[in-house]
Amino acid sequence: MSTTTKILILVFLTLSLSGLFLFYNLPNSWEYALERRGFKVASMIVVGCCIAYSSVVFQTLTNNKILTPSIMGFEAVYMLFQTLIVFIYGDQTFQVIKNSGNFFISVGLMMVFALLLFVLIFKKGKSNMYFLLLIGLVLGTIFTTMSSFLQLVIDPNEFLIVEQKMFASFNRMNIDIFWYALGFMILCFIIGFRKLRHLDLISLGRENAINLGLDYNKSIKFYLFIIAVLVAVSTALVGPLTFLGILVTNLTYELFKTYKHIILIPCCCLVSAVAILGGQFLVEQVFNFNTTISIIINFIGGLYFMFLLLKVRKV
């Protein structure tokens, strides 16, 4: 099968799944339902693209196919903030901090965290991606410990507010936030698009990329920043989806055996959209909301990660 056919099939799948999602079992008051579902589909595609883009780029930067940027500690920062506001305001949380306020503060905090991390690592000149990752993970573990402590003290009824945030969900979509997220994403995609070819060079490895005339450190910093924005936006929009990145990128690599990011990234966005749409459809229509999509994705993605670790010799 040629690349074009594969892409066409993916586009077809995305469109038909969106259609299925929009029109399946439409109730009588269809206008309202359609509007809600429309936003839901759109937000799933936005989140899918954010995760796909950031994961592919991150894996190229780290030269490693089993990592995903969200493990760098972003989600821990997000959870700590969500726990903290519930700890302070209790059941008043919704009145004190509006949804859009929460979104912007979350994104802002995650960005501050990312910048601090980058400053800490790049101050010493030579950049080591694994080192960056380990520092992020350790900070993440510290934040998680702090969140668990606060969650221990929170009133069980109020804990339910925190629990909702622990699992990604497309059902509590907020329309205002969606437009902000879309704006952020498009901005990142446009800025990133001009330098997309640099990624092909980076995938050759540090030495080769420098030999070919690339300002390696500058490119890495530039793309890390874009990744940070995208991960922050998608996490603040729906919540943590840790292992989706590993799943969709590796599927994409299997489907398209190419190194060209101009093909890889859009295709990964499609794969990721198909995965989320399909997963959410299963959750709603087959499991009747008995589980959440983030649990399904973490389950499958986590198992797939283990499979990759144990099967593939070259990790």
Binding site: I71, V138, T145, M146, Q151, I295, F299
Partner: protein, 314 residues
Amino acid sequence: MKISQLIILLFLLVILSIFVGVSDISLLNFLKWDEQQRLVMVISRIPRTAALILAGVGMSVCGLIMQQMTQNRFVSPTTAGSLDAAKMGILASLIFIPQAGLWFKSLFAFGFTFLASIIFLKIADRIRYRNVIFIPIVGLMFGGILNSITTFFAYKNDIVQNVNAWMMGDFSGVLQGQYELIYFSVPAVVITYLYANKFTLVGMGEDFSKNLGLNYRAVMNIGLFCVSLTVSVVVLTIGTIPFLGLVVPNIVSVLFGDNLKNTLPITAIFGAIFLLICDILGRLIIFPFEIPIGMTVGLIGGVIFLILLIRQRS
């Protein structure tokens, strides 16, 4: 610092730990204690201090063996998924056989930890020569997966908050009659001491250790057995204490070098000292309330680990 000084420090901290607490008991009028004060000592203070020492010794020795077996300074129960596996085992026993006693729970926790350690070692074995920093990353992700499975079942049974509460390392619940399980870590630590050098050899690789006439499989299994036993009893009686097994051996190696025969006892004592200090701090900061040990060690240990990481690099 000599080992004798460490022992004196440990002794002082033990005294301090016994006499810090809400109910006012003074060492000086030892003879004038009434019945109630004596009970507080026997039921709460002494068991707590004993548990602190055992957990401190056990977890730091575990970290040291794991580091020897993988030849990687950044491996420990926290960064190898062992804590998460023990947590998963306890939850599984609670869900599948809720009426079972403590014995079954510990058996479950032990089984899960053992299995997870085997899987982790298999993974670490494959990537050892690539990158020292990569192994703990994979271990932390491995732990993350186990944790997400645990959370899934906790969510299904609507006990997410309870599970978090149980698993937070906390010594305030240590009372006579409820903590004795932790004594099972003593034989594990003794075995470790006897086998210490063999663990180092095993860490050099399968072929190398076989050439030296070592039964590779057997030694590996003994190591895993000791680690899993200690981790599971500590998690069951106290809860998870992140970074303890990671930070203590690293500090000891910075201060005292890497000769295992010398550093093993120092690591053990240092672990107990570290845990005692953290616990006493946790008890004093918001006196008369307490900050759980999982929080204090997680914070202090995490920061120390970051400093060690950055130092090691420059």
